[in-house]
C-alpha cells in the first residue's frame, strides 16, 4: 500500500484529487462488516445530492466520451476523401470537447468527494475491493488528458499529408500487423485472464483492433494524428469500462463472500456479470448522446445564423450529428435487451422489479420518451427533404409513415392495467382492464409496434437518401466490391436468422419448463426465421441481377409481415399456450429486423452510388422548425438517460451492493416517478445551462483565434505591399 506522503508527492499537480485518492486507498474491504455510516451536508438529503451530482457528471462524461468516437471517424473520412470540410467539422467537434473536459474532471472530483464524505462506509468498502483498479483509473485520466490535448492542439501541427519515408511506413505497418495478430489471439482467448466472452469481445474490438487499425493507416502526420485520436478513445473507453465495473459490481457482486470480504480476485470483482453489458449499452448511449448534443449546438448556431454560408454549415453539421446519433440509437434497444436479459440472469427478483415492479410505470414514461425520439427523428428527416431537389416525389409516403408511427406510438405507451377510480371501473363494467386496450398493453403488441417504428424510421431514411437521385445504378456495373459487400451482408443476415432457427428446432420444451406438446410453437417461429433467410437470399440474388429496388421492397415486406403482422398476432397465442417462450419470440423479431436493415442498407449504398442527381443538396434551405426538432431530440435523449440511470441504480432496491451490503440509511426506498422527473429535470437543466455556457466560452476562444489568424495573414501582406 502506498503511503499518503509518497502519493501526494507523485501526484502533485492534482493535489486535491491525489489527497482524496490516497486517503481512500488506505481503506480495506473489512469496512463491509461494520455498520453503515451516513452523513449529511447542510441538512440536504444525501441520496438526492449524490443522485444529482452523479447525473450531471454522467451527462458531461457521456459527452466527453461520445464526441471523440465520431470526431475521429469524421477526420478519417476527411483524410480518405481529401475533403477539407470533414476535417474542419471534426476539428469543430473537438473544440467543443476541449472546453467540456475540464468541467467533467472537476465534477468527477466533486462527485468523489461527496461520495466519500457522505457514504464513508460504503465507499471505504468499495475502495478496499477496487483499490488496485482505482490506481489504473487515475493513470488512465492522465492518458486521456494528454491524448486529448495532443489531439486538439496538435491538429494543425500534425496535418501534413507528406508521406513518411518508406522505412518509417513499414515500421508502422509491421507494428499494425503485430497488433492485429495480437487482437486475433486475444479474441480467441490466447492470453489475458479468464473472462466472459462479451468482455473479451469488448476489449478486442474497442482496444486492440482500433490500435491495430490506427497503426496500419499511418503514412503521414495526419495518420499519426488520427492514431492519437484512437488512443484518446481507447483511454476514454477504458475509463468508462472501469467506472461501469463498479456500478456493475454493486448490482452483481462477484469475488466476495456474503459478508462482503474479498475471497476471490480483484479481476473477478471487476469483471462481474453486468459490467460489460452496462458498458456496451453506455457506449452506444454515449455516441447517440454526444451526437445529439453537438446537433443541438449546430441547431442553436443555425437559429442565430446571419448568413446563408453559416446556415449551410450548421445545417450540415446538425445533419451529420443526427446521423451519428441515429446510427447509435437503432442498435441501442438490442443492447438494452441484452442488458435486461443479464439483469434477469443475475436475479429474477431484480429483473421482475425492473419490468413489473417499482419501475413498470417508469418504463411507460420511458416509452413516451423513446417514441418521441423516433417521431422527432422522422420529422427531422422529412423537413430535411425540403432541402433536396426532387424529394417532393416522396412526400406522399410521409402521411402513411406518420400514421404508422402514431398508431405504433399509441400502442407502445399503452399500459396493461389502468389505475382507475371506482367510477371509471364501474363505467367499464367492473373490470380493471379495458376490453380492447388491454391487448395493446401486452408484450406481443408492444414488440410488434416497436419493430414497426424501427422499420418506418428506416424507410424514412431510405426516402431521404434517394431524394435527389434520378435512377438506380445497376449493381453489376459497380465492380466486385459492391457484389462482395452485398453477398457478405446477405450471409450475415442468413447467419443471424438461421442460427436462431436451428436453436429453436433443437430446443426442448423442458428447457422452459413447458410440456413436450408445446414444441410446435417453437417450430413455427423457426420456420418463420427460415422464410426470412430465404427472403434474404432472394433479395441478394435480385440485387445482383440489377433488381435492387425490388430486392429491397421484397425483404422489407417479408420482414414487416413476419415481425409485425404475423408475430404481433401469434405472440398472443404463444403467451396463452407457452408464455415462457414469448421472450424467444421477441429475439426472433429483433434478429429479423437487424438482418433486414443490414441487407437493405448494403443494397442501398450501391444502388445509388454515382446515380444521376436532379440537383445538389441545398444546405441551409431547411425550415427553422427542423432545428427545434433537433433540439427536442437532444433534450429528450438527455431526459431518457436520466430516467434510465434511475432505473439501473434503483434496481438494487434497498441494497448498496446487491445481496451483500444493505442500505440502512433513511433514504432506503424507491423514489416515486414524480421525484424522478424532478431530479432528472434539474440535472438536465443544469447540464444544458452549463454546456451552453461552455460553448459560449469556446466561441470566444475561437473568435480570438480567428482574429489573430486574420491579423497574422494581413501583416505579411501589408509588409509585402510596402516592399
Amino acid at each position: 500500500m502506498i503511503g499518503i506522503r509518497g502519493c501526494r508527492r507523485s501526484l502533485a499537480p492534482r493535489a486535491a484529487a491525489a489527497t482524496l485518492l490516497c486517503t481512500v486507498l488506505g481503506a480495506t474491504a473489512a469496512w463491509a462488516l461494520e455498520p453503515n455510516e451516513y452523513r449529511q451536508v447542510l441538512g440536504l438529503d444525501s441520496r438526492k445530492l449524490i443522485w444529482f451530482l452523479a447525473q450531471v457528471k454522467l451527462f458531461f462524461a457521456a459527452f466527453v466520451l461520445g464526441v471523440p468516437l465520431f470526431a475521429v471517424l469524421i477526420e478519417y473520412v476527411g483524410a480518405r476523401t481529401n475533403d477539407a470540410k470533414y476535417d474542419k467539422l471534426a476539428h469543430e467537434f473537438t473544440s467543443l470537447l476541449s472546453v467540456a473536459y475540464a468541467t467533467t474532471a472537476a465534477l468527477g472530483g466533486l462527485f468523489a468527494f461527496a461520495l466519500y464524505g457522505l457514504y464513508p462506509t460504503f465507499m471505504g468498502y468499495m475502495t478496499g475491493i477496487f483499490r488496485d483498479v482505482m490506481f489504473l483509473y487515475a493513470l488512465l485520466f492522465f492518458a486521456e488528458t494528454f491524448t486529448l490535448y495532443l489531439y486538439y492542439y496538435g491538429w494543425h501541427w500534425l496535418s501534413s499529408r507528406e508521406p513518411f519515408s518508406r522505412n518509417v511506413q513499414w515500421i508502422f505497418k509491421v507494428l499494425g500487423i503485430a497488433a492485429l495478430v495480437l487482437t486475433v489471439v486475444f479474441f480467441l482467448g490466447g492470453f489475458g485472464p479468464q473472462m466472459r466472452g462479451d468482455t473479451r469481445a469488448f476489449m478486442a474490438l474497442l482496444y486492440f483492433l482500433p490500435v491495430a487499425a490506427g497503426l496500419l493507416i499511418i503514412r503521414d502526420r495526419k495518420g499519426v494524428h488520427i492514431f492519437i485520436g484512437i488512443l484518446l478513445n481507447v483511454a476514454g473507453t477504458a475509463i468508462m469500462q472501469i467506472a461501469n465495473s463498479w456500478a456493475g459490481f454493486m448490482m452483481s457482486p462477484v469475488g466476495v463472500d456474503k459478508e462482503g470480504a474479498l475471497t476471490g480476485t480483484v479481476w473477478q470483482a471487476f469483471e462481474n456479470v453486468l459490467a460489460t453489458p452496462v458498458a456496451v449499452h453506455r457506449m452506444l448511449g454515449n455516441m447517440a448522446f454526444g451526437g445529439l448534443v453537438v446537433g443541438a449546438y449546430a441547431a442553436v448556431k443555425f437559429i442565430g445564423a446571419k448568413t446563408d454560408e453559416q446556415k449551410a454549415h450548421y445545417d450540415w453539421m446538425g445533419y451529420v450529428s443526427n446521423l451519428v446519433a441515429i446510427s447509435a440509437l437503432i442498435p441501442l434497444p438490442f443492447a438494452g435487451y441484452y442488458l435486461g436479459r443479464e439483469v434477469y440472469s443475475v436475479s429474477a427478483v431484480m429483473g421482475n422489479n425492473m419490468m413489473g415492479g417499482d419501475f413498470s410505470w417508469t418504463f411507460i414514461i420511458q416509452a413516451v420518451l423513446v417514441g418521441s425520439l423516433f417521431i422527432l427523428s422522422n420529422y427531422y428527416l422529412w423537413t430535411g427533404m425540403t432541402r433536396i431537389p426532387g424529394a417532393e416525389r416522396y412526400y406522399g409516403y410521409i402521411k402513411y409513415i406518420l400514421g404508422a408511427l402514431i398508431v405504433s406510438f399509441a400502442i407502445w405507451l399503452t399500459p396493461h392495467n389502468l389505475p382507475l377510480t371506482g367510477a371509471e371501473v364501474g363505467q367499464m363494467g367492473g373490470g380493471q382492464y379495458h376490453p380492447t386496450l388491454k391487448f395493446m398493453g401486452l408484450m406481443p403488441a408492444k414488440n410488434a409496434v416497436i419493430n414497426l417504428i424501427i422499420l418506418s424510421t428506416f424507410f424514412s431514411f431510405l426516402l431521404y437518401r434517394r431524394g435527389n437521385k434520378l435512377d438506380a445504378v445497376a449493381i453489376s456495373t459497380q465492380g466486385w466490391m459492391a457484389r462482395g459487400v452485398i453477398v457478405l451482408a446477405g450471409a450475415a443476415a442468413v447467419y443471424l436468422a438461421g442460427q436462431y432457427a436451428v436453436n429453436l428446432f433443437l430446443m426442448k420444451p423442458a428447457e422452459l419448463d413447458l410440456p413436450a406438446d408445446r414444441a410446435p410453437y417453437f417450430r413455427v417461429i423457426a420456420w418463420l426465421l427460415l422464410s426470412h433467410c430465404a427472403a434474404s437470399i432472394i433479395a441478394v440474388l435480385l440485387a445482383l441481377k440489377d433488381r435492387g429496388k425490388l430486392a429491397q421492397n421484397l425483404l422489407m415486406a417479408v420482414t414487416a409481415f413476419n415481425v409485425v403482422l404475423f408475430l404481433g398476432v401469434y405472440g398472443f397465442v404463444v403467451m396463452e399456450k407457452a408464455s415462457p417462450f414469448l421472450r424467444n419470440v421477441a429475439v426472433s423479431q429483433f434478429l429479423q429486423i437487424i438482418a433486414c436493415l443490414i441487407v437493405v442498407t448494403a443494397i442501398d449504398v450501391f444502388l445509388f452510388r454515382g446515380a444521376r442527381e436532379i440537383g445538389r443538396l441545398q444546405w441551409g434551405k431547411i425550415p427553422v422548425r427542423s432545428q427545434y426538432a433537433l433540439l427536442a431530440l437532444t433534450f429528450v435523449i438527455t431526459m431518457n438517460m436520466g430516467l434510465m440511470g434511475f432505473i439501473r441504480s434503483g434496481l438494487r432496491g434497498d441494497w448498496h451492493i446487491f445481496g451483500v451490503m444493505r442500505d440502512t440509511s433513511p433514504w432506503s426506498y424507491t423514489p416515486s416517478n414524480f421525484t424522478m422527473t424532478q431530479m432528472v429535470s434539474l440535472s438536465v437543466l443544469v447540464f444544458m445551462v452549463s454546456i451552453a455556457f461552455m460553448f459560449w466560452l469556446g466561441g470566444i476562444v475561437e473568435k480570438g483565434n480567428a482574429v489573430k489568424d486574420e491579423a497574422g495573414a494581413r501583416a505579411p501582406a501589408a509588409m509585402g505591399a510596402g516592399d
Binding site: 469475488g255 427478483v349 415492479g357 446487491f658 451483500v660 416515486s672 416517478n673
Partner: protein, 323 residues
Amino acid sequence: MSSAVGKVFGFLLLLLATFLWIGQAVTALTGGEKAAASAVEISPEGGESIFWGKGRCFTCHSMGDRGSAVRGPNQGVFGENFPLPIGARAAERAKERSQKTGQTYTATDYLVESLAEPGAYVVEGYKNEMAIVYAPPIALNLKEVKAVIAYLQSQGGELDLESLEKPNEVSKKFFAKMAAAQAAGGGDPSAGEQVYASNCASCHVIKGKGGKIGPELSSVAGKGAKYIEDSILRPAKSITPGFETWTLTDKAGRKTIGLKTADTASEVEITKANGEKVRVAKADIKELDQDKDASVMPDNLNEAMTVKDLQDVLAYMMLQKSE
C-alpha cells in the same frame, strides 16, 4: 444569437415542464414512494401488505383483476385457466400433490411448499423461475412467509392459522428448510444443491452419495454456518482430523500429494485429489510428511462461485442435520 439562446431555453423549459407533468400524473395515478414496511402479524391483512409490498409477489402474480403481472399464475379468478381463487385452488392442487408424492397434502401444505420449494410443482404453462422469497434480496422471515400464506388462504379458501402455528409433518419439513436457509444468511437450498453437485459431491458424501476424499457432510449443519463458510472459502484454515494432506516422496524422487487412506506394515496408500489411489511400499518411501498448511480441497472454489452460489450452498449445508 442571444435571442436564439432565449428561444431555445424557453423550448427546453417547456419540454421539462411536460416531463414533470407526466411524472406528476403517473405518480398521482399509481401512488408515491413506499416507506419500508413495519412488522406484520400472521393474518390475511399482514400478508396482503407483504404480497403487494416487501414480498414483491405482485411483480409476477396478479390477484384477479388487481395487478398487471402475467409472469406467474394469477392468484385470483381469471379467465379459463384460473376459475378458482388460490385459496380454493390450493385444495385441488393439494389433492394432485398427494397423488404424486404419496404423502397427504393439505391446502396449507401445498401453499407452504409453493413458497419453500417453488420448483416442486410448477403450474403448467409457467416457467420454474419464482424467486426464493426467504433469500436475499427479498429475505422474508418466517413470520412474514406465514402471513402471506394466510392471505392466500383467505382468497376463497379456509383461513387456518393454526396450521401455520402448529404445522403438520409435511409443512414442518418446509418450514425447517426455510429456517435453515435463514440461519445461513439467506439462500436457496434447492439451487445450493445444484452448486453442491457441481463443485462438492465428487469428494464429499451426503446421505451415502458422493465421493469419499473429503469428510462426510450428512450432519455438517451442526457445526454452524460460519464454520462451513470458512471451510469452503479457506479450506486449509480448519482441516477435519483424518483429512490432513500428506506428501509422500519415494526413493526415485517422485512426489505424491493427497490423503493417507491406508497405512499398513508394508505399504502406504495416498488418495490424490482426483480420486486416484497410489500405493507405495514402505521400503520405497524416502519421506512421508504431513502438510499442516494445505488442504486437498481446492482453495479456489470462490472463483467458481458467485455470492449467490455461496449463499445457496450454505443454505443447503444448513439442511444437513443428523436424522
